[in-house]
């Protein structure tokens, strides 16, 4: 019974990412993190917004296992809840970025010509700009907050997915099976939807997953500059921003959220690598 389930699952390519020790640990961590993010409002031991100024900057101990911040709020609860903010912002941003980037990249790759040159000039230029600068300028224009942070991250990584998708489409367009399908009398829509995009999807999705890690770092950096989540909403970056002044007084306020960011991004990268291996698309994930 179990072996039958196993066989069925292992036939599903992405699941093979779990076939190594690294894949199990990293993937397990990410699943746990997703659960924490989803159930955060119900599992945090303390109210993430409740202030207790009498117990501010308390060192880690019991019952505050990661200490308290300058308002006496429980750092552990805020780190748990921060997973919800960080993951949802980053994942939403990357989802937007991937969708728009695929559309732009596919259009550029399929139609070619002047349109492609215009799109790619802009894309190459923004790609060579530091993501933090793009995001900072964007947030400066539309104002701070989680929504604008999400869009800022989406814009910062748009170039990456446009480039990648275009590269995939250009490569696929020259494949014989595309010509063969046209020769059968297929419409352009059939070619793009049934052959080009499905074949370009796997590498773009995997790179997208890896980019969720970069998105978390960018969200943290924007939060550090005070432009991300608005108080009292906890996000890993925003926690470190209020913690800057506390670097010396209560280092736990910045160390724990930082560890959470680093651990998450490392897990995302390790699992992403396993996924690349499982899907056998190593050659295609580079743009």
């Amino acid at each position: 019974m179990t072996s039958a389930v196993w066989n069925k699952l292992s036939g599903f390519a992405p699941f093979r990412a779990f076939s190594s020790a690294i894949g199990i640990v990293a993937g397990g961590f990410l699943i746990l993190l997703l659960l924490v993010a989803f159930f955060a409002p119900w599992i945090t031991p303390f109210d993430v917004a409740a202030q207790n100024l009498a117990n501010a900057n308390a060192a880690p101990g019991w019952p505050h296992i990661m200490g308290t911040d300058e308002f006496g709020r429980d750092v552990f609860s805020r780190v748990l809840y921060g997973a919800r903010t960080s993951l949802s912002v980053s994942a939403t941003a990357i989802a937007i970025s991937v969708s728009v980037g695929m559309l732009l990249g596919a259009a550029a790759g399929y139609f070619g010509g002047l349109f492609e040159r215009a799109v790619m000039t802009v894309v190459d230029l923004t790609w060579s700009f530091p993501d933090i600068l793009i995001a900072l300028i964007f947030v400066a224009i539309i104002g701070p907050g989680l929504t604008s942070t999400t869009f800022a991250i989406a814009i910062a990584y748009l170039a990456q997915f446009t480039r990648l998708t275009r590269a995939q489409i250009v490569r696929l367009k020259s494949e014989t099976f595309v010509e063969a399908t046209i020769n059968l009398g297929a419409t352009p829509a059939h070619v793009v939807l049934r052959h080009l995009l499905p074949n370009a999807l796997a590498p773009v999705i995997v790179v997208g997953m890896l980019a969720v890690g970069d998105g978390i770092v960018l969200e943290a950096t924007l939060g550090f500059f005070g432009l991300g989540a608005q108080p009292p909403t906890p996000s890993w970056g925003a926690m470190m921003s209020s913690g800057t002044a506390q670097l010396f007084i209560s280092p736990w306020v910045i160390i724990y959220p930082g560890v959470a960011v680093a651990a998450t991004v490392i897990a995302v990268n390790l699992f992403g690598d396993e996924l690349v291996r499982a899907l056998d698309i190593r050659d295609r994930v580079r743009s």
Binding site: S128, L133, F225, A262
Partner: protein, 309 residues
């Protein structure tokens, strides 16, 4: 052939820069806020404000303002900062050396250490050495820069007292920022080097050299590394924008001057000419970096040289 190719690419910069200048100008003027707010003082009257707005030409239409700006740029004049009250060119000239110093050292540091680590990882395939380098690469490319900077300050500057906490007074103040930026760069260079070596190592001519009985170090230094350098040089040239502008967070944490700090500060004060000028400089640096990358690629790879004939 390379010369002709380079000139062609160099000429392309002009129309692209012009297009970029429009984008930059629009972005800057889309920003909410007004630089005049940073000039008026408690006690001045609303009329003073109107006079100031007129003084800096901010009452003119956007089209006129753009035209004025771009025609100044054509004559090499970046304009006068509104809040910072200096010629923009002076401000850039004052900050650029700090960026170049930090960026250049971080660049050198990460190239050298990254190359060595990449070679170590390649030479020690399937041993702990490779695992160590891979772990280092993973850490370097994932840890947020500002967090690393804070930890470094806490450890090396506060606890050990080896380096100053902030500023740019002498070379000791460069150590921690260079390490912070370099850490990410090392990871990038090491990863690219390792992959490039693995790929070049698989090529037939390397197998042939092995078959000819050349020693491993000879093959490594005479043949493998020169070939593997191409992607490393390319990736570094393409990242010039990152080196100059991406140091923003590190400059912020260490309180260092630089192009990134200037930009962030001017952005905060809505000092339009400064934001425009420094963004244009960054865009130019990015384009030149891309150009160098492309030319290096063309010069080193005969296949690309051929294609441009």
């Amino acid at each position: 052939m390379i010369l002709k190719y380079s000139i062609q690419r160099l000429l392309m910069i002009i129309p692209v820069s012009l297009a970029i200048s429009v984008v930059i100008f629009l972005i800057v003027h889309l920003l909410p806020g007004d630089p005049i707010d940073n000039l008026i003082r408690v006690g001045s009257s609303p009329e003073d404000r109107i006079a100031l707005t007129a003084k800096y030409g901010l009452d003119q239409s956007l089209f006129e303002q753009y035209f004025l700006w771009i025609s100044q740029i054509m004559t090499g004049d970046f304009g006068q900062a509104i809040v910072l009250r200096r010629p923009v060119a002076d401000l850039i000239a004052q900050n650029l050396p700090y960026s170049l110093q930090l960026g250049g050292l971080a660049f050198l540091f990460s190239s050298i250490v990254g190359l060595i680590l990449g070679i170590v990882a390649w030479a020690s395939q399937k041993t702990w050495g490779e695992q160590f380098v891979k772990g280092f690469i993973l850490l370097g490319s994932t840890v947020p820069g500002f967090w690393l900077a804070l930890l470094m300050i806490l450890f090396f500057a506060v606890n050990l007292g080896w380096f100053p906490v902030s500023g740019a007074r002498d070379w000791t103040a460069l150590v921690l920022p260079v390490l912070t930026i370099g850490f990410g760069g090392i990871a990038l260079v090491a990863r690219v080097t390792r992959v490039a070596l693995l790929e070049v190592g698989r090529e037939d001519f390397i197998t042939l050299l092995h078959a000819k009985g050349l020693s491993r170090p000879t093959i490594l230094f005479r043949h493998l590394i020169p070939h593997a350098l191409l992607p490393v040089v390319t990736i570094l040239a393409l990242r010039i924008g990152w080196i100059l502008g991406g140091a923003v967070t590190v400059e912020f944490v260490f309180g260092r001057p630089g192009l990134g700090s200037l930009l962030i500060r001017a952005l905060g004060q809505r000092d339009y000419p400064v934001v425009q000028g420094s963004l244009l400089m960054l865009a130019l640096a990015v384009m030149i970096g891309t150009l160098i990358g492309d030319i290096a690629q063309a010069a080193m790879d005969p296949r690309i040289r051929e294609a441009t004939k």
